[in-house]
């Protein structure tokens, strides 16, 4: 019955250790920050209230988010601009110079397994953390594992299947930057009437772009499978998959 006294001793131990802990002297961090801030681009936009600011953050993320660093045709760039819904063609879309004959293209980063950077969790824990139930692919596959990936406090849930990983978040910060090298096909498609992208035919890089338009450190990954990216009902999805385009689109429209 009285588990309370037994439950307290570790708290006492912790409090004792916490108060006795001796930290190194705090260095002059402010000086370093001042130097760094001097290099940060000026003037953050004025705060105009949460709705406008959130919209601006999303727009910034979208603008900066879908950048192609592959030699793409103008058609593809136009499609990207269309997807963004913003007249940003030529401003935000980065194009790598075409390698000259004999040049070796810059190698892609070594692919990392999900297990190497994500935290295993359960659907229940993920739902509690993200405050929404992660979408599950109905029918064909059984989920193998569930992970949480943290990006500066913003959590992304990844449900892993035998042939696919489904990334999902409803955060305003998380938008996909799809950087392709050697990608054979970048195709604009639709999911539930909304623009989406299907990337296939070769390894490519995905990055997470923050609302400040900068890449979230450590988020760059090489995807060796096909990728479908789309948004639906306020959620952002990325399906990394061995499925065909038709199968992947079938999965996308099947999500609740």
């Amino acid at each position: 019955m009285s588990d309370q006294p037994a439950a307290r001793w570790e708290a006492v131990l912790l409090a004792d250790a916490g108060s006795a802990f001796s930290y190194p002297a705090t260095p002059d961090i402010e000086a370093g920050v001042r130097l760094r801030l001097a290099l940060v681009p000026t003037a953050l936009p004025a705060w105009r209230g949460p709705i406008v600011a959130r919209a601006a953050a999303v727009a910034l993320a979208l603008v900066a988010g879908l950048a192609l660093v592959v030699v793409l045709s103008r058609d593809v760039r136009d499609v990207v601009a269309d997807f963004l819904g913003l007249a940003v063609e030529g401003e935000r879309i980065e194009i790598l110079p075409t390698p000259r004959p004999g040049e070796t293209p810059t190698p892609l980063p070594t692919p990392r397994t999900l297990e190497s950077f994500a935290t295993p969790t359960t659907l229940e824990s993920a739902a509690a953390r993200l405050r929404f139930a992660p979408a599950l692919i109905p029918g064909i596959e059984q989920a193998k594992a569930v992970y949480i990936v943290d990006y500066l406090g913003l959590a992304v849930v990844v449900v892993q299947y035998e042939r696919s990983d489904l990334w999902e978040t409803n955060g305003a910060i998380f938008e996909k930057g799809v950087f392709g090298k050697g990608v054979q096909v970048i195709e604009q498609v639709t999911v539930n009437g909304q623009p989406a992208y299907w990337i296939s035919g070769g390894s490519h890089i995905v990055r997470v772009i923050g609302s400040d338009g900068r890449e979230v450190a450590g988020s760059e990954r090489t995807v060796t499978r096909n990728t479908l990216v789309w948004r639906s009902a306020g959620f952002n999805y990325r399906l990394e998959t061995e499925l065909s385009e038709a199968e992947a689109l079938g999965v996308a429209v099947s999500l609740p």
Partner: protein
């Protein structure tokens, strides 16, 4: 002399690009940011880098900061995430365990060594480091940095009502680790007849 401005005013000014106002916050919270990072990475140089990066990220992301939240736990959320990423990226945890082994054998403590007074604290640090990262962070925030529960909630990005249960769960897991692997840390049972002599 100008009176120090409060956090909210400083954040409002910083959002408009006022770096000086933001540096007021840096001066105010650099110690807790450094300590939070140090608790996770246990390396003073790395903790300095992480704290500095945390402030820069905070400045760059002030648009996502909610004005009705206090600044300190929001900053600590950024710093602890950076620190955890650093640990994960560099495999510092393994290095830390190796360092513990060295510390126990080395009578000359290095400047960055873990400075917990006495062997019990040393063992406790090892036990904490065997916990999942979320548990470690919540225990550090509560017991080492003395954050109130509402600030812990912001720092770990959870509803305030869940902090108690998360602390309880983390403490419970620590208790299990101690009982299984560090029984010397358990309190001695109080004998009824003879009393204890110190």
């Amino acid at each position: 002399m100008d009176a120090p401005i409060d956090d909210r005013l400083a954040v409002t000014a910083a959002r408009k690009g006022d770096r000086e106002a933001f540096c007021t916050l840096v001066g105010r919270y650099q110690e807790v940011a450094f300590r939070a990072a140090y608790l996770v990475v246990r390396d003073a140089a790395a903790a300095e880098d992480i704290a500095q990066e945390g402030f820069v990220r905070a400045f760059q992301n002030l648009r996502s900061f909610r004005e009705d939240e206090p600044f300190r736990p929001w900053l600590l959320r950024i710093v602890t995430n950076l620190a955890l990423n650093d640990v994960r990226a560099r495999g510092r945890r393994q290095g830390l365990l190796a360092r513990f082994a060295r510390v126990r054998q080395d009578p000359e403590p290095t400047p960055d060594h873990l400075v917990l007074a006495g062997e019990r604290h040393d063992l406790l640090a090892r036990a904490i480091n065997e916990l999942p990262k979320d548990d470690r962070v919540v225990l550090y925030l509560r017991y080492f940095l003395d954050l109130p529960e509402r600030e812990i909630a912001t720092a770990i990005d959870r509803p305030a009502g869940t902090v108690k249960s998360r602390l309880s769960r983390a403490s419970g897991r620590l208790r299990e680790v101690i009982e299984q692997r560090y029984p010397a840390l358990r309190p001695e049972p109080v004998s009824s007849g003879e009393g204890r002599h110190v």
